[in-house]
């Protein structure tokens, strides 16, 4: 087993990884920027190292500073969390070259899946359905228009090396496509350091459903069920649930089998997620992308399977067997996650500020993964996620009822939060019916 781990992240995910490390007797090392020195995860780690100023480029994205912190503290391994350096193959290689264990997949798998065009091509070869789209990078607006003529409108324009919904745009005609292309390219260069753009057919009225996979130390890949992530604003997830109310048993079996093939095609090891778009009416799905790391919304899978995914990541990274029988995973019950963001609940604009009061809900079936507490300051430097509020129930109705109570009992004063939006969501007829797709929020906020 690993002796120690440096957690190359911040906020709620650093805290969550440290919690499991501590339970397993793994010594934990936190890293923090000047903006985060007071956050709970820094105090909860066995050791903490300042790695730079608030700007991510000079702290959490500074591979050299992170690896130096690991060497200096004698950490045996590095867990990247999600975001920042988690899907940076060069960083993973540097970690390994420094003699540390990388708690993640082989850097080659990160690289293959990080390039969305290569990933699409590879998935197609592996027999995973993909939507019509580019097989090579689209270099300029003229080429984009030609590509769209071949694929058919509406199309989605996105950065081949991107993620998090940043720079993504939908276009229904040539003029909109030219504008979307320029936006995507400037964002791609700025946020992802690569101008490569991908165009694919936009699936309207789709659900966004992803499959959790685990590549085991012996090389086999298992699928641990799906998560429905269709509640989105600006192509970013706001709430997730499992099982998906829009996926039949038969469709689930096909999706899980395809996700296993996807993982096998890249020799995947550790926790990963295969994201798909689902047409519930037709009972079909297409591959969207694969995330080669732990997902923000992993807790819902943990709640219905009883499996601690971070524990499995540590076990797999050390070459050990997972803690459960991979052939006997039967999810039970229903779980929902609500992302509590520091943003106004109407326009969803960022609202950083100092937290003057913080009171979390608790009780049966309620889980809170929080990155902050009273007295902390939410700065504009990082994403707006304050906490993930999860509710579990034997049925979807029970999970929703517990989620409603938990939202009502969660109070944060100081920055505005989207908790009032979550209350509204949990009472909206469309969400409650389960028959919703990625357009849900735009209907609630016309």
């Amino acid at each position: 087993m690993l002796e120690s781990v440096l957690v190359a992240n911040r906020g709620e995910i650093a805290r969550r990884v440290i919690r499991t490390a501590s339970r397993m007797g793994i010594r934990s090392v936190a890293v923090y920027s000047d903006a985060d020195a007071d956050l709970p995860y820094v105090g909860e780690a066995d050791e903490a190292v300042r790695i730079g100023p608030a700007q991510p480029a000079q702290s959490y994205l500074d591979a050299t500073a992170v690896i130096e912190a690991a060497t200096r503290t004698g950490a045996a391994s590095v867990h990247p969390g999600y975001g920042f350096l988690a899907e940076n193959a060069d960083f993973a290689r540097k970690v390994i070259a420094a003699g540390l264990i990388w708690v993640g997949p082989d850097p080659a798998a990160i690289e293959q899946m990080g390039d969305k065009i290569r990933a699409r091509n590879l998935m197609e070869q592996a027999g995973v359905p993909v939507s019509p789209g580019s097989r090579e990078p689209v270099t300029d607006a003229v080429a984009a228009v030609a590509e769209a003529a071949r694929i058919g409108y509406p199309v989605m324009v996105k950065a081949a090396g991107g993620g998090g919904g940043i720079g993504m745009g939908v276009a229904a005609d040539d003029q909109a496509l030219r504008a979307a292309f320029e936006t995507a390219r400037s964002r791609a260069e700025r946020f992802f350091g690569s101008p490569e753009i991908l165009i694919e057919r936009y699936v309207e009225r789709a659900r966004h459903v992803e499959v959790q996979i685990l590549g085991l130390a012996d090389g086999t890949v298992v699928a641990l069920g799906e998560r429905d992530c269709s509640v989105q604003r600006r192509h970013q997830k706001v709430a997730e649930e499992t099982p998906s109310p829009g996926v039949s048993g038969e469709l689930r079996a096909r999706m899980l089998a395809a996700a296993v093939r996807a993982g096998e095609a890249v020799g995947y090891r550790g926790a990963g997620t295969v994201e798909c778009l689902v047409d519930s009416d037709a009972g079909t799905f297409v591959f969207l992308e694969m995330n080669t790391r732990l997902q923000v919304e992993h807790p819902v899978t943990e709640l219905v399977t009883g499996i601690d995914l971070v524990e499995q990541q540590f076990l797999i990274a050390s070459g050990a067997r997972v803690s459960f029988d991979p052939q006997a995973v039967v999810p039970s019950g229903h779980a929902i996650e609500l992302r509590v963001y520091a943003e106004d609940p109407v326009r969803f604009l960022p609202r950083p500020g100092t937290i003057t009061g913080w009171s979390e809900p608790s009780g049966e079936g309620v889980r809170v993964d929080a990155g902050y507490t009273a007295g902390n300051t939410v700065t504009p430097f990082y994403d707006p996620l304050l906490a993930k509020l999860c509710a579990y129930g034997g049925s979807r109705d029970e999970a929703l009822a517990r989620a409603r109570d938990a939202v009502a009992a969660f109070t944060v004063t100081g920055p505005k939060t989207n908790l009032p939006f979550h209350a509204e969501l949990l009472d909206s007829a469309e969400f409650v019916s389960g028959d919703y797709d990625t357009s849900l929020i735009s209907k609630l906020r016309p």
């Binding site: 950083p352 504009p380 430097f381 990082y382 707006p384």
Partner: protein, 70 residues
């Protein structure tokens, strides 16, 4: 004279309009960045940019003066 102020704590990512520029209602003056999101700050009336109070890389607090439109 109309004062344009920051709605939230943010970093100034881009200054789009310069002092002396004519701007129309709805034109982008600066683009702020907060929590990985770009937030354009728009002119709420037409006129000339009399004073630009921020530079790229600045951090603005809620209520800080960004520009004055004359």
């Amino acid at each position: 004279m109309a004062e344009v102020r920051a709605e939230m704590v943010a970093n100034v990512w881009k200054v789009v309009a310069a002092e002396g520029d004519h701007v129309d209602d709805g034109d982008t003056l600066v683009i702020l960045e907060s929590m990985k999101m770009e937030i354009p700050v728009l002119a709420e009336e037409s006129g000339t940019v009399a004073k630009m109070h921020v530079s790229e890389g600045d951090v603005v607090q809620e209520g800080d003066l960004i520009a004055v439109i004359g």
